[in-house]
């Protein structure tokens, strides 16, 4: 027979260790941000923030180096926009179908399939994009190279899809049964119920799903580095090679002299990325909270 005290002690230990884990994850994020700031800020001693953010050329290892990340920011945004344009409609439609229309067995099969899609490593998706999608896009549009923003968008759409579908599906399933029953009782067809009632009630959750999907896309590195061609030019269309923020960090970190201006510039890119994803997650969070209320 255990004494009450021993049990209390155990409870206390468990409670505190869980609390500690929770605090740790927040502390880590803070430390990462501080680290980024510390390493990246030294760049701005010799370089103005405006020249960095709006400079048009990126020649980091030349003498003197030029650190203009406008082409990289635009590259990242273009690829992300394209990926969102592809994955959002398909993802939301898939979520509606799975949650509302599909019969039980098909629903389980689809959910398992989509989870499997999330499990494919990004380098594998990138490899497939490079070997099959790239040449296909090149021939389809008759352009000089298949390594373009569009290739990146399609590849990344595949990676954003599982996030969008599973979170949107949760949001739709969370809509109370009574809404549907009331709608049907009022004489609405199934489609009217799904589209006008359920989809509307689940809208905040679906928006959060979209934002999280986009957050995943903008932070993705490996696949995008393999398929977008990485040319640091200001993009004028989707059928052009682009260079993204993430790919730049990944490709150049190895070469930069530790503590040098190039190194600092890469960390400054990290700060920009951190701020972008932070904003996206913040917006998603806002919507998620609204949906819970």
């Amino acid at each position: 027979m255990k004494s009450v005290q021993a049990r209390k002690l155990k409870e206390w230990v468990i409670e505190k260790s869980i609390l500690l884990s929770g605090i740790f994850s927040v502390v880590f994020v803070l430390l990462i941000f501080l680290f980024l700031l510390r390493e990246g800020f030294s760049l701005f001693r010799g370089e103005s923030v405006i020249d960095f953010l709006f400079g048009k050329s990126w020649y980091p290892i030349s003498d003197p180096p030029r650190f203009g990340i406008l082409p990289l920011i635009l590259g990242s945004l273009l690829v992300t926009l394209g990926a969102a344009a592809i994955s959002v409609p398909i993802g939301i439609a898939a979520a509606l179908f799975i949650a509302e229309i599909a019969p039980l067995r098909l629903r389980e099969a689809l959910k398992a399939g989509i989870e499997l899609l999330a499990a494919i490593p990004s380098v594998v998706i990138g490899f497939i994009g490079m070997i099959t999608l790239g040449p296909w896009i090149k021939n389809l549009f008759n352009i000089p190279t298949g390594l373009t923003a569009l290739t990146g968008s399609v590849t990344l759409a595949f990676m954003a899809m599982p996030t969008i579908v599973s979170i949107a599906e949760d949001a739709i399933t969370a809509v109370p049964r009574q809404y549907r029953e009331a709608a049907i009782a009022m004489g609405a067809t199934q489609w009217q119920t799904t589209w006008r009632i359920v989809a509307r009630a689940a809208r905040p959750g679906m928006l959060a799903a979209v934002m999280l999907g986009i957050g995943r896309v903008i932070g993705e590195t490996m696949a995008v580095m393999m398929v977008t061609g990485n040319a640091a030019v200001i993009p004028t269309g989707f059928l052009q090679p682009v260079r993204t923020l993430t790919a730049t960090i990944a490709a150049e970190m190895g070469e930069s002299v530790q503590g040098g201006p190039h190194y600092a510039a890469l960390f400054a890119i990290g700060i920009v990325l951190f701020i972008i994803t932070f904003l996206i997650n913040g917006v998603a969070d806002l919507f998620l909270h609204r949906s819970r209320r």
């Binding site: 082409p71 490079m130 000089p144 580095m225 393999m226 490709a251 070469e255 930069s256 002299v257």
Partner: protein, 292 residues
């Protein structure tokens, strides 16, 4: 059920501790292992040397990894490897950092490499001068017909800036070795993460032109003959032409150690420069430092 949970929690806590502790342990520096890191161009070569070296003494372990010349020198500076492989020379600032960290980096030329410039096999051109190369890679020529080819836009492929090959090509082909030159790769040049990626893109794109170490040449791509200038003969990138210095784009491959090599590192470097070591260089399609 409750018991199982408790066991799981226990395992979890143990793992946390192990993770926390492993973060503190210093990088191990056993006497019978060598860590080699650096140039992607040299990975296969380093691996072949390591295998032969370990065959002679099975107690020794030599680990070779790539990542780029810059990655290698960064690892050497932070003392996470014993030898850095470089396909370019050390930069003055890197030497300075090494001195600050208390050692003089020792550079040893272990092999030579010719850089092949490759196009799609269907490209009618088979030779270019260095001036034409500079014009193509810096973007001042953008269609093959401007230099006597077919009417196709040129797709310029380059390695990423973390590659020693990229740096060498820029300094010796684009800038012709002039220190004051400001010529850059065309902003529209595609930056690919590996030599293999360049080979793959060239093999399936009739408008592409790229460069890589001559060990990568395969029948899927066509290597161009290069001339120093319009009056010089065009030379194919072959081992003989690199040894005789007739081929204009070749470079030394280096190994860099922390200070004068000692102990196992010294005997490894001796092996690399020995006749047996240089035979391996030929087998991996690079060029030996001297002929044996």
């Amino acid at each position: 059920m409750a018991k199982k949970n408790r066991v799981l929690l226990g395992i979890y806590l143990c793992l946390l501790f192990v993770l926390a502790l492993s973060g503190c342990s210093r990088q191990n520096q056993q006497a019978n292992t060598i860590q080699i890191k650096g140039s992607d161009t040299m990975v296969n070569l380093g691996q072949a040397w390591a295998e032969e070296f370990m065959k002679a003494d099975p107690k020794v372990s030599v680990a070779v990894t790539g990542g780029g010349s810059g990655t290698g020198i960064a690892a050497l500076l932070s003392n996470t490897c014993d030898i850095a492989e470089l396909s370019r020379e050390l930069k003055p600032e890197e030497i300075e950092i090494a001195r600050k960290k208390g050692f003089e980096p020792k550079q040893i030329t272990v092999a030579l490499d010719g850089l092949a410039v490759v196009v799609h096999p269907a490209n009618p051109l088979s030779q270019l001068t260095q001036d034409q190369l500079a014009a193509i890679f810096s973007g001042s020529v953008s269609n093959w017909k401007e230099i006597g080819g077919s009417d196709l836009p040129i797709v310029v492929l380059s390695r990423e800036v973390n590659s020693g090959t990229h740096v060498y090509f820029k300094e010796h082909v684009l800038r012709r070795g002039r220190k004051d030159s400001q010529v850059e790769f065309a902003a529209t040049a595609l930056m690919l993460p590996s030599s293999q990626a360049i080979a793959d893109e060239v093999a399936q794109n009739p408008g592409a032109i790229g460069y890589y170490g001559m060990g990568y040449i395969s029948p899927r791509e066509k290597a161009l003959a290069i001339a120093k200038d319009a009056d010089s003969p065009y030379v194919q990138p072959t081992i003989e032409n690199v040894i005789s210095n007739a081929y204009p784009i070749s470079r030394p491959l280096l190994m860099v150690s922390r200070g004068e090599p000692k102990g196992l590192v010294a005997s490894f470097l001796d092996f690399v420069l020995s006749g047996a070591g240089q035979k391996i260089v030929v087998k991996i399609d690079f060029v030996p430092v001297k002929s044996y």
